[in-house]
Symmetry: C2
Subunit: 286 residues, 2 copies
């Protein structure tokens, strides 16, 4: 009953006005969403990384980093990551994985940004780092009005590199585990984001070496396998869908997070940072 | 030699101009600092929380939350926290500690903000959440020009509460372990920040219950002791000092983080979020 009432409210009014009168919580907004607000993960752009404690599911972003994503898929098919390990965990920054020792990696792609497209939807909120900040196709993104890039929010997966901008091919990947290191925006190739199992990366013990590298092999977490979801039998693929960030439901969700209702909040913030909104992902089906 | 040259540079020029011509790294700036830029932790406002894996050192903020901090010290002296445990670890949000089961806690203090003082030094950067954001006496803070509050950045320690704003007395504390939950600003009493040992909180396994609470007692991390540093023998007190956030060296440090030099950064950000600057703390002495 509650679900139906909320769905009717969302259908009846623009997201913001409806929220301000009804004070839906972010969870209320998701409960009231319709099936068409959600999009199933594309198995041909989804990685399943199996660690000893659980599975990490990564949604790739080929539309932002076509060459890097294609090469990561090649590496997956070659079995490269099945012999890799988590080699670094730096508190409030990143975890990183690669084969160890790392093979030479001198030539890759500097896919840091692209032309701004109509699928980029900026929020109205001020952003510290960019003229515009918002979401594009399920990813946090920012823009200067002409160019567009993926933002380094919690859970983002990028390509490690050396000083040369095009020196990273994907043999060394990182995931953000701390406060959004937005200074990396436009300086690193972002290839996707973790959509499930982030806790299997973020709660790893921190490395005690420089930059959080583990000092001994026994501290490293072995990667058991990395598979492209499309290569798994259908029954073993992650059954996940993500909320379309161009949907009215997502706009209502952002607004509900911008001005938290309920009895707890004395001072609703009235604003929200893109990296304080993790675009919702949920299990499909009954 | 390098250290002396950098010190001379810092002395000779305003922080920003000097950085822009010399491109000091943040580490360079700290190396070039002088002893008078640093302030020793006050043992009467420092907590030492001992967990099975290591020590967590918390700098209290009585100037922002006098009643809450005084009560936390009373609880420490009563041995309350020596029978407490980490009861919650929610990914990308907080860890929380209390006795379990928690004693009733219906009356505390709503010390969410104070009048803006001259010790608050705003940055020039845009902030998403507040008209002004900067630092005050070693803590990240924000202001509307009239009132001032501590910002919920990584490592901040605050008082858990129920819906009533003054319902938290300090028997349940939390530390931020993820993306800065700035929506909590002006809604929670912030009582300090972790200045050492954050990794012993942030890398704890995430709880699998609602809101990241642990579901069984065996998952909780026991707190062995919490002591006020002043109550420890001098030899056992943490020997730490923090960089004065009103010093020219801190201004140079912020600028070096705002525009990262060196060969790696293709696009220096030109801006910095307060929660992307952890006010530096270092060991004292040889």
């Amino acid at each position: 009953m509650r679900k139906l009432v909320l769905a009717a409210l969302i259908a009846a009014a623009p997201a913001q006005a409806q929220y301000q009168t009804q004070k839906l919580s972010p969870d209320d907004v998701l409960i009231a969403s319709s099936a068409s607000d959600w999009q199933t993960l594309d198995p041909s752009d989804t990685l399943v990384m199996t660690l000893p404690r659980g599975q990490v599911v990564i949604r790739l972003a080929p539309e932002f980093a076509p060459n890097s994503v294609a090469n990561i898929k090649r590496l997956v098919h070659s079995g490269y990551f099945d012999k890799a390990a988590i080699v670094r965990s730096q508190d409030n920054f990143v975890v990183q994985w690669a084969q160890d020792p790392e093979p030479p990696d001198t030539k890759g792609w500097a896919e840091f940004e692209r032309n701004r497209t109509n699928s980029f939807l900026p929020l109205k909120d001020r952003d510290t780092y960019a003229a515009e900040a918002g979401f594009d196709n399920g990813f946090a993104a920012a823009s200067d009005g002409r160019r567009e890039w993926l933002a380094h929010c919690y859970g983002v997966v990028g390509v490690g590199r050396d000083n040369a901008p095009d020196s990273g091919s994907g043999i060394e990947l990182y995931a953000v585990t701390g406060q959004a290191p937005r200074a990396l925006d436009r300086n690193m190739t972002v290839t996707g984001r973790v959509v499930k199992g982030m806790e299997f990366l973020s709660a790893l013990p921190r490395g005690t070496g420089e930059l959080g590298f583990y000092e001994t092999a026994s501290e490293r977490t072995p990667i058991l396998t990395v598979k492209l979801a499309a290569d798994l039998p259908p029954a073993e693929r992650p059954k996940l869908e993500w909320l379309k960030t161009g949907s009215p439901t997502f706009a209502a969700y952002v607004e509900a997070r911008r001005n938290r209702g309920g009895p707890f909040y004395v001072h609703p913030a009235g604003a929200i940072d893109i990296c304080s909104i993790t675009p919702p992902v949920r299990a499909i089906g009954p």
